[in-house]
Amino acid sequence: MSSSRFVITVIGLDRVGIVAGISRVMAEHNVNIADIRQTIMTDLFTMIMLAEVKSENFDLAAFQAAMTAIGKELGVQVIVQHEDVFRFMHRI
């Protein structure tokens, strides 16, 4: 693992408050947003965020559970993955 950066993907039907809800939970877990992109792909709201974690004691499992919970509340799917999975798969 070369860094503590995570890709957060949010997929679902567009509605008011998705960005606000997701970023509130991120702030609560002290997770910084390094980059954010948002598109509508095949009628679905898709938001991809690059998140940075500075804290040594970051609890990934708790953060993932909180993100899944807020996703459920907002009716969207939230996936939190370490960025390495994409770097290794798509870059040499």
Binding site: M1, T9, I11, I48, V80, H82, D84, F88
Partner: protein, 453 residues
């Protein structure tokens, strides 16, 4: 270059809808330090040593699974072939060792443990014989233990005494687990040129040239390859090969990254990445479906061997470019019961045992998870094994036979094994006898290909 949203979504789609997964993280454990003449002490040492190596295996793989968002389906352990480490035990049989492995597997929380094995390609030692004759009861009394016997290599030829013996052992194993469809045979495989670092079951064992503790990773993804091939518009076969190669490359890179991280966290050496298209009963996660996507009406028809050769080779090339640690079996698996497309092909009459045998010449393994009538004779089973071993020996490749003579079942019946093992349609075998041929015993000499020095 930053990762593009399309690339992120491609990876997510592979997992969410195309069944991409790390099929297994298999920890290889050396048991050579456990030898003892007293089998009770031996068993205690085996149990303690396995748990001391593997106590964090499941927790660590679970952590990696959530870190990367890639499912890790099975956690497994392979050990040094028990016939070797139990050779010095003063005991008539080795069923208690299998039971010890089973207990250790339950305690460690893993799915399967492999290595109730013997390597007898050139001859059978007393320890080998004790192990082999213990297989039927070991398979009947344990749940998670897998057994394998290597009866042939390109260097040594085929030990036909061992082949004949395995015909009888397979029958006995099926009968002892008859009320469960002969499921004992689903955990038993006969090999030619068995790899020493294979993470897949039932054939995994920890070879004698391996390090003390090693992590081998098996990555799968027939569903991903199937979807990628089907997305092409009017492709030539060259286009298909290129597409499979690229897809295999991506899957392999992902698997190696995850495997290295598991090994690092466990303080074990990283061994090999085995990229094998291992189908599951899920719709679309099928090797047969890939062959059909290339333009065959039904798997097993003329052209199937050529299509499979293209697939197997493209998978290897993609994998070899992606990782310097490709090993194990790496290629395409064609287990009948575990592949929804293969089951359908058998049921509609397009796929026969003879065609499967031809396909094994160009795929990575062999006759796998094949159910045959319960009254199939031991010599016919031995002859099926001998054919498959000959293919492996001559072509310098691994071949294997995992065959289930299902007690009380006839051609056309369907046997349910459940889970990843799926369900197997009972297939016909030839009715002409091979008895006299198998009864001759002895050895089929190593072929001219073996004289490479």
């Amino acid at each position: 270059m930053p990762i593009q949203p399309e690339e992120i979504l491609e990876t997510i789609k592979m997992v969410a809808t195309e069944h991409l997964d790390i099929r297994t993280v298999t920890m290889g454990i050396n048991l050579r330090g456990c030898c003892h003449p007293d089998i009770k002490i031996f068993n205690e040492q085996v149990y303690d040593h396995i748990l001391s190596c593997a106590e964090n295996l499941v927790r660590t793989t679970d952590e990696i699974q959530s870190l990367y968002g890639i499912p890790i389906i099975n956690k497994r352990i392979s050990v040094t072939p028990i016939a070797i480490v139990a050779e010095s035990c003063r005991a008539d049989e080795l069923v208690s060792v299998a039971e010890t492995l089973d207990r250790a597997a339950h305690e460690a929380g893993i799915d399967f443990i492999g290595g109730f094995s013997a390597l007898v390609q050139k001859g059978i030692t007393p320890g080998d014989l004790k192990l082999i004759t213990s297989i039927p009861r070991a398979m009947a009394t344990t749940k998670k233990v897998c057994s394998s016997v290597n009866v042939a290599t390109t260097k040594a030829g085929i030990n036909m005494d061992a082949v004949a013996l395995m015909g009888r052992i397979i029958k006995e194993t099926a009968e002892l687990t008859g009320e469960r469809g002969g499921i004992g045979c689903a955990k038993l495989v006969v090999f030619a040129n068995a790899p020493e670092d294979n993470p897949f079951m039932a054939g995994a064992f920890h070879g004698v040239g391996e390090p003390d503790c090693v992590i081998n990773v098996g990555v799968s993804g027939p569903g991903v390859v199937n979807a990628a091939v089907r997305a092409l518009r009017e492709p030539s076969l060259g286009d298909i090969a290129e597409c499979i190669k690229k897809t295999a490359f991506k899957i392999t890179r992902m698997g190696e990254m995850a495997g290295r991280e598991v090994a690092r966290r466990l303080g074990a050496q990283f061994g090999v990445l085995d990229l094998s298209l291992a189908p599951t009963p899920a719709v679309g996660d099928s090797v047969a479906a890939i062959l059909e996507a290339m333009g065959l009406e039904s798997c097993g028809t003329h052209g199937t061997t050529a299509a499979l050769a293209l697939l197997n080779d493209a998978v290897k090339k993609g994998g070899a470019m992606a990782s310097s640690s490709v090993g194990g079996l790496s290629g395409a698996f064609i287990p009948v019961s575990e592949d929804e497309g293969m089951i359908r092909a058998v049921q509609r009459g397009s796929l026969s045992l003879d065609k499967l045998e031809a396909m094994t010449c160009v795929c990575s393994v062999g006759l796998d998870m094949i159910a045959v009538p319960g009254d199939t004779s031991p010599s016919t089973i031995a002859a099926i094994i001998a054919d498959e071993m000959a293919i492996g020996m001559i072509n310098k490749k691994t071949t294997a036979v995992r065959i289930i003579p299902v007690p009380g079942k006839q051609v056309g019946d369907l046997v349910e094994f459940g889970g990843l093992l799926g369900s197997a349609p009972v297939m016909p075998v030839h009715n002409f006898s091979s008895e006299a041929f198998i009864a001759r015993g002895g050895r089929i000499p190593a072929p001219i290909q073996s004289l490479t020095n």
